[in-house]
């Protein structure tokens, strides 16, 4: 059975390939279809959606692989203990604290697990006896739902504001400039793709970025000189 530490070493293998293959197969590489295109790619680019969907599929399908049976009762006991606060300590869970009451509570958790109770039932057991503040995180219902909803608004609101701000700043930029690039004008990628095809049919040498004088790079070097 594989465990993560066996895999941790493997983790660097792709990196290794990423670096070594790099020089040789740039032509191959540039044919991969899922790369974003165009400077206005973000709002209406189907390639991006495909990538996002791919990731989502991998992600969601993998969630099905988690099975509760794989986790021993003891592991579950620790996970639960990490979700229950020690009533007499300042801000520690019973999993971390060595206080007597924490030990008793850990034993109780184990006892209830052995009886076959679910995590939710065990939490309820402690809430009934110690009050809501025994839970290390508020339950997502009633007033406490606020604790969970507000972060969602913060995050999406924040990203939304950022995107709107960029859009506004861009609009000002487009108005200030008279000639936007073709790809920006109609959001149509055909011109660009044709250009790519032309480029690809050229001699391979011109595609290696390090030698192609026209290819822009993030480390655009005249800018780099005095960062």
């Amino acid at each position: 059975m594989f465990r993560v530490r066996h895999v941790a070493a493997l983790f660097f293998i792709p990196l290794y390939f990423g670096v070594t293959l790099h020089g040789e197969s740039k032509v191959m590489a540039s044919r991969f279809p899922f790369v974003l295109s165009g400077s206005r790619a973000l709002p209406n680019n189907s390639a991006l959606l495909v990538v996002a969907a791919l990731f989502l599929i991998i992600f969601v399908s993998a969630i099905g692989c988690i099975r509760e049976e794989d986790i021993t009762l003891e592991q579950r006991a620790h996970q639960l203990a990490a979700q229950l606060m020690c009533p007499v300590c300042d801000g520690q869970t019973i999993d971390g604290s060595s206080a007597q009451i924490s030990q008793d509570m850990r034993l109780k958790v184990r006892e209830l697990l052995d009886e076959g109770q679910t995590n939710a039932e065990i939490k309820d057991y402690f809430v009934l006896r110690y009050g809501e503040d025994i839970l290390a995180a508020p339950e997502g219902s009633g007033f406490n739902l606020l604790a969970w909803v507000v972060p969602v608004f913060i995050v999406f609101g924040g990203i939304g504001i950022a995107l709107v701000a960029i859009k506004n700043m861009r609009k000002a930029g487009i108005q200030a400039k008279s000639s936007p690039l073709p790809a920006q004008k109609n959001g149509d990628l055909s011109d660009f793709l044709a250009q790519v095809d032309r480029d690809l049919s050229g001699p391979p040498d011109s595609l290696t970025s390090d030698q192609d004088p026209k290819s822009p790079s993030p480390a655009n070097q005249n800018e780099e000189a005095n960062f």
Binding site: D114, E132, V155, L163, F227
Partner: protein, 691 residues
């Protein structure tokens, strides 16, 4: 000694007050001499703070228990090395320490301030002096470390045992120093705004000062995590404790700032935004000071509740009003004249990353304050601890890591489709292959697998850029190491940033490993028994104890063996049937494939005077995982009860530290001190090589 200290504090207070008034009045009536004398008064506050600190240190060294603070925080048995720790281990002393740091860095930064900021310096000095005035005042009248006792005790109470660890020599001073250091860039920017100096003159100074504060704060937090992991026996390194959170929040905002200040520097954008970020960071630092001093939230860290809480709350509110009042007043002058050109540009990526940082900050703040709201709104107390923050912040933090890969690959202004394709293909592939490999290997925890993929993506993006830049230079004749070094030196802020990014990725590995794949078991061992978890066997070989006047210490000597699980099939099956992760072996005879790895010595001390236990975990650390043994208790029947865990990838958490520091230093190193400007020929050569 006490008198000298009090006099120094009062003198410092007078000097600070004079410096505030002198700067403002001198500037208003145009009296240059007054402004200069105010600046010199500012320099003298450093002398006052130093004398006060020296007086306190001297009192510790001389065991002057007539001073209450000394009697409370040390005793005659204390190792003299811990005088430094005892100095800031209590409320009053730590305030004095903060004041000392504040005066020191104020004076240094004013002394070295560039000439072009001369017009705004009086205002900067006034702001700094006003903050110093507050601290001098608090120390002189509210929380004096020089308060005398009516009856002098024979011996002091001793130092808090949790603090007698090498980590304490640096963690608290770095953390407090980092928090107070945020004041300096804030004072420089606010000074410029007050003086009506709306240009970009302050960018470089603010950037350097902010990175210093940010680096110090970051190093302090990392050391704190290390300290918690090795000594506190919490079994963890970051608990999302309120005090940890209030240090994290300004750090996050500063992180946003040091990214977006580059946009202002390079593109002239985000001026207003940068001022706002620094204001937020400053106010959050004041919130941290307030919560640290008897604020309203429960924490393992806080100093005993005291009347200081209300004073620091008022100071925080004043800071808030001042910072944002000034901001709103000057806002019309801060508009940038430049425009954003594209979504697909580094500046827009930086803006998104800024908002993500602010989002983590806001969510954390919400989590810290939610118990208060709950109390006020419906009189029910709730706890908001690690499980909440893990779930609420985890995804956003992952998003930040994703942006860490995307942002640097985008060029300024606008990315062409061509460059996007060129630069993203390898990182994306690497990430995807990593995810695929992990899935194919049957690793569980999809969220963790995805996170590993993200880490690989970012790592590949950094390596890709280094690879290309180095290869280009290599072709022009340098050897590989030299090429890389030249690349880094050519643009230190950028490549220093990459080194820090690598440290963040290492941190990420550790966080993913320990959060998703940790294995735990508890057990109590008699001498000669073994505890088996996964493929480790821990044998309880011997124990020892020592009784000292201040503490009763016990420790266990344990041998760690690597075992072959096939030798223990029966036991493992029985244990799993019982729902246990590990099991205890009665006899410790070796089996065929047992291999001795080494010894650990978990230590448990009980401090009688403090009624407080302190443990040192036994840790066997490798690059892939830590075997982590906390001695919970030495039981009366001779057994030792242990909490044992395997923390995968924990090593990476601490390995990230040096990278963080080196990267920060590289980013800070003045560019002017680099080798002479390359000749025209060289420029052309490298331009050809690079493009």
């Amino acid at each position: 000694m006490a008198d000298l200290g009090v006099m120094a504090l009062l003198l410092g207070m007078a000097l600070s007050a004079y410096s505030v008034v002198g700067s403002v009045v001198g500037e208003k009536i145009g009296m240059a001499e007054l402004v200069v004398s105010a600046r010199r008064a500012m320099y003298m506050t450093l002398a006052a703070a130093t004398v006060a600190s020296a007086a306190l240190v001297n009192a510790f060294v001389q065991n002057d228990f007539s001073i209450k603070y000394v009697a409370d925080h040390s005793n005659s048995l204390m190792d003299r090395a811990f005088v430094w720790v005892a100095f800031y281990s209590g409320n009053e002393g730590s305030l004095l320490y903060i004041l000392l740091v504040l005066t020191l860095i104020s004076v240094i930064s004013i002394w070295f301030a560039p000439k072009r900021l001369a017009r705004s310096m009086p205002w900067t000095i006034a702001i700094l002096a006003a903050i110093q005035l507050f601290y001098f005042g608090v120390l002189a009248f509210v929380a004096s470390p020089f308060e005398l006792l009516d009856t002098v005790p024979l011996d002091g109470r001793g130092i808090n045992p949790l603090l007698t660890h090498p980590g304490m020599f640096s963690h608290p001073p770095l953390l407090m120093g980092g928090l107070i250091a945020i004041t300096i860039p804030f004072a420089f920017i606010s000074g410029a705004l007050l003086a009506g100096n709306y240009g970009d003159d302050w960018i470089d100074v603010a950037r350097v000062l902010a990175i210093i504060a940010w680096g110090v704060l970051g190093a302090g937090m990392l050391l704190g995590a290390w300290w918690a992991y090795t000594i506190l026996g919490w079994g963890g390194y970051w608990a999302w404790d309120p005090i940890e959170n209030v240090a994290l929040m300004p750090w996050l905002v500063l992180t946003a700032f040091i990214h977006s200040i580059m946009v202002q520097k390079r593109r002239g954008l985000f001026r207003m935004w940068n001022v706002a970020l620094l204001n937020i960071a400053f106010v959050l630092a004041q919130l941290g000071m307030f919560i640290n001093r008897g604020g309203p939230v429960v924490s393992v860290h806080s100093f005993a509740a005291s009347t200081l809480g209300i004073i620091f709350m008022i100071f925080m509110l004043v800071s808030l009003l001042f910072a944002f009042g000034l901001f709103l007043w000057r806002m019309p002058h801060l508009k940038s004249d430049r425009v954003m050109e594209s979504f697909m540009s580094r500046e827009s990526a930086f803006l998104v990353n800024n908002f993500l940082f602010l989002a983590v900050m806001a969510v954390t703040l919400w989590g810290v304050l939610f118990p208060l709201f709950s109390d006020l709104a419906r009189d029910v107390s709730v706890s908001v601890a690690a499980p909440y923050f893990d779930r609420a912040n985890g995804p956003v933090l992952l998003g930040i890591v994703v942006m860490m890969g995307i942002g640097p690959l985008l060029p300024w202004r606008k990315a062409s489709a061509r460059s996007l394709k060129q630069w993203f293909i390898w990182p994306t592939l690497t990430g995807a292959v990593t995810i695929g490999t992990l899935l194919a290997l049957g690793v569980d925890r999809p969220i963790a697998i995805f996170a590993f993929g993200v880490v690989a993506f970012v790592a590949a993006s950094i390596l890709e850029e280094w690879w290309r830049g180095t290869a280009a230079r290599h072709r022009s004749g340098d050897n590989w190491a030299m090429s890389w070094w030249r690349l880094v030196n050519g643009n230190r802020p950028r490549h220093g940033g990459y080194i820090v990014h690598i440290s963040i990725l290492m941190l990420g590995l550790g966080i993913i490993g320990t959060n998703f794949y940790q294995q735990r078991t508890d057990g109590a061992l008699e001498l000669g028994q073994s505890l088996v978890i996964d493929n480790y066997r821990i044998e309880y070989v011997d124990n020892g104890s020592s009784n000292r006047p201040d503490r009763i210490a016990q420790w266990a000597e344990m041998s760690v063996y690597r075992i072959d699980e096939d030798d223990y099939v029966v036991e493992f099956e029985t244990a799993r049937a019982d729902g246990a992760t590990g099991f205890t072996l009665e006899d410790s005879s070796m089996r065929a494939n047992d291999e001795l790895l080494g010894g650990i010595e978990p230590w448990h001390g009980f401090y009688v005077d403090f009624n407080m236990a302190s443990v040192r975990s036994g840790i066997r650390s490798t690059i892939v995982e830590d075997l982590y043994v906390i001695p919970r208790d030495f039981l009366a029947d001779g057994r030792v009860s242990l909490a044992v865990s395997i923390n995968p990838l924990a090593w990476w958490l601490w390995a990230s530290g040096p990278f963080f520091i080196i990267g920060t230093m590289v980013a800070l190193w003045p560019q002017a001190a680099v080798e002479r400007r390359p000749t025209m020929k060289k420029i052309q050569a490298s331009a050809e090589g690079e493009n």
